[in-house]
């Protein structure tokens, strides 16, 4: 186990698959599930959450520096993998925060094993399809154009591009992330049609956070989740794109803490 200033990094083997796991803070467990772009970084929002929780931020199998697991053929398979991960880390139940594809994953976990999820925050989550609401096809677009759509503040993608590493390892991880996302979300496009019939099982408190200007999954998706989930509330963040926890860190954090520390 290596230590950086604010979090620990280790590799854990779950049913024979080694995954990269970042951890920080103390308190009740909170598991952050990253989206399609991967989860290699200890994000500022995780740092903030780690003031109150023991935050776990794994990289999904096949992403970044985590190994591939050929048994994982769907998001449901990945959900079972995470139940194994919780068993191995002796986490009976945790708060889940899932961003985009990670939100979809958190929902699958909550549907299979509602008792393992105490509270849930969905950030511009994938997982369902809303008839009549157009979504872009991330798989056919140039990755640069996708990056452009992720943020409301268009100076962010520009900054990220200028920081963009030509380091071969980073390029390789980026390709791995894209390949694994294809595998999980190609068809049906970023959703599991079964979720609509099973989502009633998620009776725990859910906070749905959505960027008002999300160009990947428009805010109508947030409203649809609100309709479908029996115990949810929706917070729409102004002037924000697909990644509220990154683009509006403090607003996200304040909403999250008020929800997680509230008495519901």
């Amino acid at each position: 186990m290596t230590t950086t200033s604010k979090h620990l990094l280790e590799y854990v083997s779950i049913q024979g698959t080694k995954v990269r796991l970042m951890q920080g803070g103390t308190g009740e467990p909170l598991i952050y599930l990253h989206g399609a772009a991967g989860g290699g970084n200890w994000l500022p929002c995780l740092d903030l959450l780690s003031k109150h929780f023991q935050v776990y931020a794994p990289e999904h199998p096949g992403y970044g520096k985590s190994e591939n697991c050929t048994k994982i053929q769907s998001m449901t398979d990945l959900a079972y993998f995470y139940l194994d991960l919780m068993d191995d880390l002796s986490i009976d139940s945790a708060t889940f925060v899932g961003s985009s594809l990670g939100g979809w994953l958190a929902l699958e976990i909550a549907i299979i094993a509602p008792h393992r999820v105490s509270k849930l925050i969905l950030l511009d989550s994938a997982g369902i399809r809303v008839e009549g609401v157009e979504v872009v096809d991330q798989f056919i677009m140039d990755p640069n154009d996708v990056l452009e759509l992720l943020f409301y503040d268009k100076s962010i993608p520009e900054k990220l591009r200028s920081l963009g590493s030509s380091d071969p390892e980073a390029v390789e991880m980026n390709i791995r992330n894209r390949i694994m996302t294809s595998h999980l979300a190609w068809n049906p496009y970023f959703h599991n049609p079964k979720i609509r019939e099973r989502i009633h099982r998620v009776k725990i408190p859910v906070l749905i956070v959505w960027g008002e200007k999300d160009e990947i999954f428009p805010v109508e998706y947030g409203h649809e989740f609100l309709n479908l989930l029996p115990n949810a509330k929706l917070t729409v963040i102004k002037d924000c794109g697909h990644l509220p926890a990154q683009e509006k860190v403090n607003e996200f954090y304040n909403e999250a803490i008020s929800f997680l520390q509230g008495g519901e």
Binding site: F139, I140, D142, I175, R176, R178, I179, H183, W186, Y189
Partner: protein
């Protein structure tokens, strides 16, 4: 050497305005630009060209599968093969190939090829392909599973042709309680010849060599064709045998005219249409994430130019010999030189390409059949005779 006419049945009515307006001639290119009235005439014209190939001495005709594109209007090559079955009586009909991973039940391919083989009394060559990248968008098929599905579908189809049914087949993607296809292929020793068209991935080359199938190199610069045939021959040696000429094929546009200059002038625009106007697509449409291995993806990202994703001029295609264009003498000499160097025994000339009009297609075919083919017939024949029986049975 054996000569085949490989037809793509391109849609020739893509205008410059459309090319400028849309970023691809595939997947998202609106099908309002397909005019069925013109399609009626076009199918008839293209089929007549393939029929004519038999009359003037070609050994075979080839059809292939592409979806939702102006590049080729044959989503079902087996339907075209059926049409050709009744319009021809001698030529081999090569389906190059069925995109077997795109099928939810690949047994359907085993059935259709068997039907075609019976219809033609054993004139079918069965090509198998993965389908190119855009087809994984068109069919919403997970590109990361393409290779595994290809191998599994191939396994099922060849078992269906060779093992007595009914039997059960339980594999990763296909689960069948009864595999028992009627009819069975006429070519039953062990099954219709299998040809594998490829752009030259190491894994495919190795697999074709291992299976003793016929390897077809498509759309490549001469330096790449050289590299690939060398690799293929090395791969066959690794598996303990020497590749026969029948086991190697080269598919490329060929155009013959009265003089070199005239040939270039007549072919130029139509070649550029094929390689650019109807091949045009963004890189990510061509190479969906996971269609290639991690290593190949890195290579593609590093290379700045490629078919489909960047403009290739006629002069560049000509210089790098993606195409062979010239007088009969020039074309003869080039093919002879490369046959002697590479040792292939199947030449798959795309005698029609892009917008080439009917009369030039026929002129091209006539000149090729009368002034090129007879001079090259015997190339590789010695080694072919030695291995003919064995190769025909693979």
């Amino acid at each position: 050497m054996r000569f085949f006419f490989h037809h793509l049945m391109a849609w020739p009515y893509v205008t410059e305005e459309m090319v400028n307006k849309y970023d691809a001639a595939w997947v998202t290119f609106p099908n309002k630009h397909y005019d069925p009235e013109k399609g009626v005439k076009l199918y008839e014209r293209y089929l007549s060209e393939l029929e004519y190939a038999e009359k003037i001495g070609f050994d075979g005709v080839c059809v292939n599968e592409h979806h939702q594109t102006a590049y080729g209007t044959m989503p079902s090559p087996n339907i075209m093969a059926a049409a050709l079955a009744s319009r021809t009586s001698k030529v081999k009909i090569a389906v190059l190939g069925n995109a077997i991973p795109l099928r939810d039940n690949p047994l359907r391919i085993a059935e259709e090829i068997a039907m075609l083989d019976v219809l033609t009394n054993g004139r079918i060559i069965s090509g198998f392909v993965r389908g190119i990248g855009p087809e994984y968008h068109s069919f919403s098929k997970d590109p990361t599973l393409s290779r595994d599905k290809f191998y599994e579908a191939h396994d099922l189809i060849t078992k269906a042709w060779t093992e007595e049914g009914p039997f059960e087949y339980y594999a990763e993607f296909t689960k069948l309680r009864y595999v028992n296809p009627w009819p069975r292929p006429v070519q039953s020793n062990p099954h219709p010849p299998i040809w594998i068209p490829s752009q030259g991935s190491l894994e495919t080359i190795d697999w074709v060599a291992k299976k003793k199938y016929t390897y077809l190199q498509t759309y490549s610069s001469i330096s790449n064709v050289r590299r690939v045939f060398t690799m293929f021959k090395e791969a066959t040696l690794k598996y303990g045998y020497e590749a026969s000429p029948f086991q190697m094929g080269w598919a490329l546009p060929i155009y013959v005219a009265e003089t070199d200059e005239q040939a270039k002038q007549e072919a130029r625009r139509h070649i550029e249409y094929l390689f650019n106007d109807v091949f045009k697509m963004p890189q990510r449409m061509f190479f969906p994430d996971g269609y290639l291995t991690l290593k190949s993806t890195q290579k593609v990202l590093e290379s700045k130019k490629g078919i489909g994703t960047s403009y290739l001029s006629f002069d560049e295609l000509y210089e790098k010999e993606y195409v062979i264009v010239g007088s009969a003498k020039t074309v003869r000499e080039k093919i002879k030189k490369y046959q002697e160097e590479f040792g292939f025994g199947n030449l798959l000339g795309m005698m029609h390409f892009g917008t080439l009009p009917h009369h030039l297609t026929i002129k091209n075919m006539d000149l090729f059949a009368s002034e090129v083919m007879p001079f090259l017939r015997n190339l590789g024949e010695n080694s072919m005779n030695e291995v003919a029986a064995a190769a025909d049975n693979t």
